[in-house]
């Protein structure tokens, strides 16, 4: 009787977990299924299945251009955010520097400010420095958004680094810059790579900053937003499914890499 009673929470929690997984995956599965519907309106049941929408999307110049544009912005954002994030993290862990708590708080600020307000403040900011809306403004906005995450990831790794590694390099004649390049950076490697992929996903995902900072050239989320507002069609489902599959694959790969690095 007692074992039955003490097992009840375990069984309930297992059921809740799987119910939650079902809840998480159901809308996305429905969305993917709808992309195969052989009709030009979105409605269940699906009835006839087709691959035509994919053929259409893959020939859609607007979609392909938006993909390229998003990837370009994500690459530039990732590069800038990684350099800045590591630089800030190095400053925070450096010895003999005062006010590390304040620097850390400032570095995390953009992660706490709600997305909409961040977008508005950046829109105002670029106008005060006479920067036009467009690609450069989007990259700037995305970088501000991504830097805190790189800082936190780099800091976690830096704090677990044995201090004598750099000392050894210094004793062997490397100056601090060389020691950073040859010892600290390789040590950061795997954590940094996970952080970089996170930046890519963050940038490709971002809608609100792009909406306020962008020009007329649509990024992927802007294109999907415009299409959804313009009217439903399984074409959007095919587009979204393609994006989802690619980003999930990238995310899984990053997860695999960081896990492999951790177990080594």
């Amino acid at each position: 009787m007692r074992s039955l009673f003490s097992d009840a929470p375990r069984v309930t929690l297992t059921a809740i977990y799987w119910a939650f997984i079902f809840y998480l995956l159901l809308p996305l599965t429905l969305m993917m299924a709808m992309s195969f519907k052989d009709a030009n309106f979105v409605a269940f049941p699906i009835g006839e299945w087709t691959l035509d929408w994919y053929a259409k999307v893959l020939q859609d110049k607007q979609f392909l251009e938006a993909c390229l544009y998003s990837i370009m912005i994500a690459a530039a954002t990732t590069l800038a955010a990684t350099v800045l994030g590591v630089w800030i993290a190095m400053l925070i862990v450096a010895e003999g520097i005062k006010g590390q708590v304040i620097i850390f708080a400032l570095a995390c600020l953009p992660a706490v400010v709600p997305g909409m307000i961040s977008a508005i403040s950046l829109r105002i900011f670029i106008s005060t420095i006479d920067m036009p809306t467009g690609t450069a403004a989007i990259i700037l906005g995305h970088t501000v958004h991504a830097v805190p995450f790189v800082v936190v990831m780099a800091l976690t790794r830096l704090r677990s680094m044995p201090g004598n590694l750099v000392d050894a390099a210094r004793d062997l004649g490397a100056d601090s810059f060389v020691a950073f390049l040859r010892v600290t950076l390789p040590y950061l490697g795997p954590a940094l790579f996970g952080g970089m992929i996170f930046c890519v996903l963050l940038s490709i995902d971002d809608f609100v900053r792009t909406f306020f900072l962008g020009g007329y050239r649509p990024t992927l989320p802007m294109l999907i937003f415009a299409k959804v507002q313009g009217g439903m069609s399984p074409e959007i489902n095919a587009m979204a499914t393609l994006v989802l599959v690619v980003t999930a694959a990238v995310g899984l790969y990053a997860e695999y890499l960081t896990r492999r690095a951790r177990t080594r």
């Binding site: 998480l24 800045l84 520097i97 570095a107 508005i120 601090s176 959804v228 994006v243 896990r259």
Partner: protein, 313 residues
């Protein structure tokens, strides 16, 4: 000065006189090192992490912006006063708070058992797989997740079609473009931000503590109330703050899933930037009102729930 011989390309760079006279010389002195280390980060943090908020504050106190020729811009508090004058301005903020608070509370209740399950019931070898399964939708992105909710709730979406097939309803229940679809979409969008803080807090609770309590006769409910809940307080505080602040700032989801009765504050703010351009100061003031009230709400919550650390230990 003896420079060790590397056999790599870096050696050539390091030994070159250009490097020796610039970077190499700079990192040799303490001042040089500090300047190299601190200059760019401090400049970036002050210019781009603080700068935009500061500019927003500055413009919210101006009568006109962008400045037009012939129009004198002067200091004013009128932009803030506008907020309190019309209900079409402050009701969206109240609605934003209701939706964000509701979504946060709901998410906490739903995600807590899931986080507990993964952290304490799943065996350690299986944990990362159990977490990974939860993270898959997270990679879909804000817009795609919002869009996929439409598939479920539309008039000819899965739920309505299913209910009609079973024979429970004759005509579809209008769920999309209502408070319900918006709440559902918000929870779907943000529930995973709750998971990770809760998971890492619950995982840290030592299992022997729970076994000891069980041996002393504490039932599952008592163990939860007296041990698990107090010890996971940090996770609850950071998860709820994260979800609340994210929820408040969501822009696309209310526009796609909400209806005419669910205009939230971000949409109100946005109207000042896409309409007549001289309303920017009002938009800036509204954005600041939102930022300050949201941060105060989060701070009060942290104080109420997380303030009593001593009791937790």
């Amino acid at each position: 000065m003896s420079v060790p011989k590397y056999s790599t390309g870096m050696a050539k760079v390091v030994n070159s006189s250009l490097y020796q006279h610039t970077l190499g010389a700079a990192v040799e002195s303490r001042i040089g090192r500090i300047i190299l280390l601190a200059s760019v980060p401090l400049l970036w943090l002050i210019m781009l992490h603080v700068g935009p908020i500061y500019q927003m504050l500055k413009i919210s106190l101006l009568s006109h912006y962008p400045v037009q020729p012939g129009v004198e811009s002067h200091f004013t508090l009128a932009n803030y006063a506008i907020f309190f004058q019309e209900s079409i301005y402050f009701t969206p903020l109240i609605k934003s708070f209701i939706f964000a608070t509701g979504a946060t509370a709901f998410t906490l209740v739903v995600v807590y058992p899931v986080a507990y399950y993964v952290a304490k019931i799943v065996k350690p070898q299986g944990r990362s797989k159990a977490l990974l399964l939860l993270l898959v939708p997270f990679w879909a992105g804000e817009l795609i997740r919002t869009f996929s909710v439409i598939m479920l709730l539309a008039n000819r979406g899965a739920v309505n079609v299913l209910l009609r097939e079973i024979g429970l309803i004759d005509r579809p229940i209008p769920m999309l473009y209502t408070s319900f679809s918006l709440g559902f979409g918000l929870v779907y969008l943000i529930c995973l931000y709750m998971l990770l803080p809760l998971y890492s807090a619950i995982e840290k609770i030592p299992s022997p503590l729970l076994d000891a309590a069980a041996d002393l006769g504490a039932g599952p409910f008592t163990r939860f109330r007296r041990i698990i809940l107090p010890l996971s307080r940090d996770g609850i505080v950071s998860g709820c703050s994260l979800v609340f602040l994210t929820c408040i700032g969501v822009f696309a989801t209310p526009m796609l899933l909400g209806g005419p009765n669910t205009v939230l504050f971000p949409e109100t703010i946005s109207s000042f930037f896409h309409g007549a351009s001289d309303k920017w100061p009002v938009g800036a003031a509204f954005a600041l009102i939102m930022l300050v009230t949201a941060l105060i709400a989060a701070a009060i919550f942290m104080r109420l729930v997380g303030g009593s650390k001593r009791r937790a230990i």
